[in-house]
């Protein structure tokens, strides 16, 4: 099995590593902070991050340094950093591990990002269910504050960064950056119309950067070892660094595997995750969380980097790889994800709010063997009228499971409908909303 250097998971893999401040410092923790604050000019930190090629690990993959560069240079009021820890994309469970096992690595990244964008306040928006994670972060912030890494006049450099944990309350959409901001302002988490972008009008209408946990955790390493080092890992020039891939589904050893970007799904599943649990062949997989279209065994040699996965018709997204074995019903799988999206639609845009309900009802009808052949057209039609017609990317995400399963496994839909026709259930009873 090919082995790769661990970057983000390295500390926590050491026997006895607790994630305490003392443990983190022993591994060289907070050296990047010491090296940077007051010694490197903030724009140079941004330049380094831009040069490293680091792209957002939350889903969209936007270049982090470029995002920071959008903040107005001539604005002297407050600016904010929001750490997006609202990990809710089905199939994704990496941020939870990064926060609960090595919180200081995330905190050091947060302070570095704040320094680069001249923000004095950072909020960690953590999903409400992760109570343990929020407690661990609170404790780590306390330790860092006592040691002078967080707070006023950090390490005597005159730099001020305060960090607070803010718990969400169970809404998937709050992982979308403008919905996160609305939620942090104490409102319903409805995405905002963009532009204006958070870079100019974010939290409290002030310049704001929202970065994912894993993105921020990379920063100390980029500062310590240099942009060139980072830019050489993975699939340069566009997908640099590692990803913490979250493997779930029918594999022998599901879990988090940190690998350079550009490894193939085949390698991830068969070499790292131990292969398939009952040695059945793979029927389908999702390469980047529930919002990413399903792919087929023909795509097993697709490289897991942003460009290659996009070229294969899906997206690398959050790095959540869900694998399904031969025998799994793809209509059922698509319905399960559709039910998720139906439940989580925030209700702001009509195509998504109404469309998700219609999609779920039509899918339930097909599964219940009460479908009609024209339902397939209805499904595609609905999907086409949702995608791209909503304020945020949720609309595109929610149609991915159905569109991609219709594309690759249309026959399964057809067989279910043929069964319905054979049973002569021409007048389907309405299937309840639920």
């Amino acid at each position: 099995m090919a082995t790769y250097e661990l970057i983000l998971l390295k500390n926590m893999m050491q026997p006895g590593y607790t994630g305490s401040l003392a443990d983190y410092e022993k591994t060289g923790g907070y050296q990047a902070l010491r090296k940077t604050l007051g010694k490197i000019a903030p724009p140079d930190v941004t330049a380094t991050v831009r040069k490293s090629g680091l792209r957002g690990r939350g889903g969209a993959g936007f270049p982090t340094g470029v995002k920071w560069g959008f903040l107005p240079k001539d604005y002297h009021g407050p600016r904010y950093l929001c750490c997006n820890a609202d990990e809710s994309e089905p199939g994704t469970f990496k941020d939870r591990q990064l926060m609960e096992r090595d919180a200081h690595q995330v905190l050091e990244g947060i302070v570095l990002a704040c320094y680069a964008i001249s923000a004095e306040s950072a909020y960690i928006y953590i999903r409400g269910e992760m109570v343990l994670g929020s407690r661990i972060l609170e404790r780590a912030i306390g330790e860092a504050r006592d040691a002078g890494y967080i707070g006023t006049n950090i390490l005597g450099t005159g730099v001020t960064v305060d960090v607070w944990v803010h718990r969400g309350a169970g809404a998937y959409i709050c992982g979308e950056e403008t919905a996160l901001i609305e939620s942090l302002e104490g409102k319903r988490g409805l995405p905002r119309v963009k532009p204006p972008f958070p870079a100019t009008h974010g939290l409290y209408n002030k310049p704001t950067v929202v970065n994912n946990v894993e993105t921020l955790a990379n920063l100390p390493h980029i500062i310590n070892r240099g942009a060139e080092w980072f830019a050489a890992i993975g699939s340069p020039p566009k997908s640099t660094g590692t990803r913490v891939f979250c493997v779930s589904g029918h594999v022998k050893r599901p879990g988090n595997y940190e690998l350079p970007m550009g490894v193939t799904v085949r390698e991830l599943v068969y070499e790292h995750a131990g292969g398939m649990r009952s040695d059945k062949p793979i029927k389908a997989f999702i390469p980047g969380g529930a919002s990413a279209p399903f792919l087929t065994p023909n795509h097993l040699d697709v490289k897991l980097d942003f460009e290659s996965v996009a070229a294969a018709g899906s997206m690398l997204g959050s790095g959540g790889v869900t694998v399904m074995e031969e025998g799994t019903s793809m209509v059922w799988a698509a319905l399960r994800l559709m039910e998720f999206f139906y439940h989580e639609s925030c209700g702001k845009c009509s195509p998504c709010r109404e469309g998700s309900s219609w999609l779920v009802q039509t899918m339930r009808r097909i599964i219940a063997k009460r479908g009609r052949m024209q339902d397939l057209e209805t499904l595609s039609d609905l999907c086409k009228n949702i995608a791209g017609r909503t304020v945020c990317a949720f609309g595109d995400a929610e149609v991915a499971p159905i569109m991609s399963t219709l594309q690759h496994w249309r026959q399964e839909y057809v067989s279910l409908i043929r069964e319905a026709e054979a049973a002569n259930l021409i007048r389907p009873e309405p299937v309840g909303k639920g």
């Binding site: 893999m13 089905p90 994704t92 109570v131 409290y204």
Partner: protein, 175 residues
């Protein structure tokens, strides 16, 4: 009154935000911790504290699934039913709990101990099937494990099987 009971905690929370309304979710959590749900009384008090109208509090609270608007059992069981858990058997776990407790999703046992809900993804897809009970996660569930968790909760109010800081696979299992 929350303000009398949690004075220091509330003022600490308020000090974190330049705009009062940001403290809304944190204060709702205090109310829920105190009573097990958020009563209308608490919503009105929180509205007063944050200079909001009660409808502003209500419109916000109803957006979020984690706030209970009516009392729930001592132990609120929330089982994940999203695809990733379903692939590894969450439907069986849900059926098992339903049979064990004699209630369906949304129901509470007659003794007021357990409320059962089915929920969407809780970010523990590699260790499914999983559930959350109050503040704790329980992962890699089997029928035996569920039995033990329920028995321990009944007997002691807590269970040894709850998850600690998350890491999976554990280092020893990685070759």
């Amino acid at each position: 009154m929350l303000q009398d009971k949690y004075k220091d905690e509330i003022s600490d929370i308020l000090s974190r935000y330049p705009v009062k309304r940001s403290a809304l979710l944190p204060l709702l959590y205090i109310a829920q911790r105190d009573q097990g749900y958020v009563s209308e009384e608490s919503m009105k008090e929180i509205a007063r504290l944050l200079h909001l109208t009660p409808p502003q509090v209500y419109e916000t609270i109803t957006f979020y699934t984690m706030f209970n608007l009516k009392p729930v059992g001592t132990f609120h069981i929330q089982v994940c039913k999203s695809l990733m858990c379903a692939l590894v058997g969450s439907d069986t776990v849900i059926e098992w709990i339903k049979t064990k407790l004699g209630i369906g999703p949304g129901g509470t046992t007659a003794d007021g101990l357990f409320t059962l809900s089915t929920v969407e993804c809780l970010a523990a897809c590699g260790t499914g099937p999983m559930m959350q009970i109050n503040d704790d996660y329980y992962e890699r569930l089997t029928e035996e494990k569920v039995d033990r968790i329920l028995a321990e909760l009944r007997a002691t109010g807590t269970s040894q099987l709850k998850s600690g800081p998350f890491m999976w696979p554990e280092p020893a299992r990685k070759s």
